[in-house]
Point group: C2
Chain length 317, copies 2
């Protein structure tokens, strides 16, 4: 039997749990609701039960698992295995989730990393990053996050908080971000940012089919991409602007990290086809040709990189 | 005798050449003019002659040198030992400077890196960075450059062009940078940027003692710091703005690299005392407390970090 590792991709609404091989094959997986409002202990008890069920279905014993890796929203203390406090897991403060998992799986090594790092590792080992030593993963959805592999090694930083790319300032004194800063990359390029900009402009009286599709306060990136596809000019401009903002943010990453490949994931990447050209044109129009010309930018290859990367934490880190 | 390494810190106006120990002690050094207009071959022949003189003075033979390291303006190809093209060394294109050095020192290993990386290594090993694994060096003078050490290793990137921090965009569609981009960190925070902003405002009619100190087109950071010290309000505001711009740029570096220490060098760092508080206040007012609170920011400890770092290339990389 091939070595099997368990990945736990812990999100604000659901937890994806799966058994993964060293080659990145998911041989069995399950999703359960997170229900963070019930507390970390409740969630982790259900995670433990789900792992036991998967073992049972697979005809495996606990000791057949070579390791368990958890990717979780941060900030967290990966050394102690504690989630410090997370806006996506409301009410969770100083939760020793590795210990909670150890209550059932005391003899198995357990690793904890933030979800951006875990997904980066998954896409690096088994997706767009596999042929490169300098690789960046960026996820664009509610927020903007990701991780970086530098010369083959996952960047962690002094206290595991490296690559907070969403809060890099691209426009000082610009749009207010949810974090309190002004001008964060995330305030412009995230799905939330895109929708917020759209709503504000619609309320100023801009004409668009978006007004017919839903209540202005309900406008989401899904609506915007749909309207743009139907030829709506206002939505088309929003999508083009998304390409420009992404271009600026990625240019900064290219200037600093000089990567060979950037993979883009997250919900907004579903519209990547529509803003890819503007994004590349923005990057191509700037300086540092030595950096920009060698860097490929692609949509993520493994949509499940969060899960396989979590599993990979246990054999890669 | 202790092991001796030769560092060559190649700049646009002068070359600093020195013999350095593994402990970072400079036992002997000399500065010669670069004269880049005479061509790379001329410069490197004089560098070779200077190294021979230093050997002679020290009573050493060629084979007593354990290695030679060159820190040079980029972009360059560090693998082939070639300066590709540099705005600071006008006219130099595809210059194989390592081979030129090898003409005299064929049996000694020679390493080439960009000057930002070399200085980073010097300050990391022998200055502010010595107690840390995640360290950033930023030099603020004509431009803004630097380098990063990540988990104890110098970041180089896919083709040795990592950490082009000066061209990170902090204000999209903002001030024009010499590189052609709009809104680069360097366009705001470099000495050149600071002086350019000052001159533009003086030409708009702003009142300041700067107008009495020199011709408006001659205003430099030295004048600005001097005027600010004398209580000039206009110059004081410029210095405060420098603190704000530095704060924004360093915040981005802190968000992405999560370092424990940032050292600031270069000519503008001579005025660091005057804008340090505003810089720290700017960083402290922003989010990502996990990143900002553990990061110390200091003036560079080794003014000669370019030289000792160049020498260290030959035993550290």
């Amino acid at each position: 039997m091939r070595d099997i590792y368990c990945g736990v991709d812990l999100g604000g609404t659901k937890v994806n749990i799966g058994f993964v091989t060293r080659e990145g094959d998911v041989i069995r997986d399950v999703k359960i609701p997170t229900h963070p409002e019930r507390g970390a202990k409740d969630t982790m008890e259900r995670v433990n039960a789900a792992i036991l069920s998967l073992l049972d279905e697979a005809g495996m014993k606990k000791e057949d698992l070579k390791g368990i890796g958890i990717g979780s929203p941060g900030p967290l203390d990966s050394v102690r295995g504690v989630i410090l406090k997370s806006s996506n897991l409301a009410g969770w403060v100083n939760e020793p989730i590795v210990d909670m998992l150890k209550e059932e799986f005391s003899d198995i090594p357990v690793k904890l990393q933030n979800d951006g790092n875990a997904a980066t590792l998954g896409e690096y080992l088994f997706g767009c990053g596999r042929d490169y030593k300098n690789f960046v993963y960026i996820t664009v959805s509610t927020g903007v996050g990701g991780g970086a592999v530098i010369d083959g090694k996952l960047q962690q930083g002094a206290n595991s908080n490296a690559f907070e790319v969403g809060h890099m300032i691209i426009n000082m004194k610009g749009l207010k971000c949810n974090c309190g800063n002004e001008g964060c990359f995330e305030a412009y390029a995230s799905g939330t940012g895109m929708a917020k900009i759209a709503r504000a402009k619609l309320k100023e009286g801009q004409k668009s089919v978006l007004c017919d599709m839903c209540d202005v306060d309900e406008v989401s990136t899904r609506h915007i991409f749909e309207a743009a596809k139907s030829g709506d000019e206002f939505a088309g401009k929003l999508v083009e602007d998304e390409g420009y903002y992404m271009g600026i943010g990625l240019y900064n990453v290219i200037a600093l990290y000089n990567p060979e490949m950037i993979a883009i994931g997250g919900g907004v990447s579903n519209g990547l086809d529509m803003f890819y050209d503007k994004m590349m044109e923005t990057i191509g129009s700037m300086s540092l040709k030595g950096n920009t010309e060698i860097c490929k930018i692609k949509k993520v290859k493994r949509e499940d990189c969060g899960l396989i990367g979590a599993a990979a934490l246990s054999f890669y880190l």
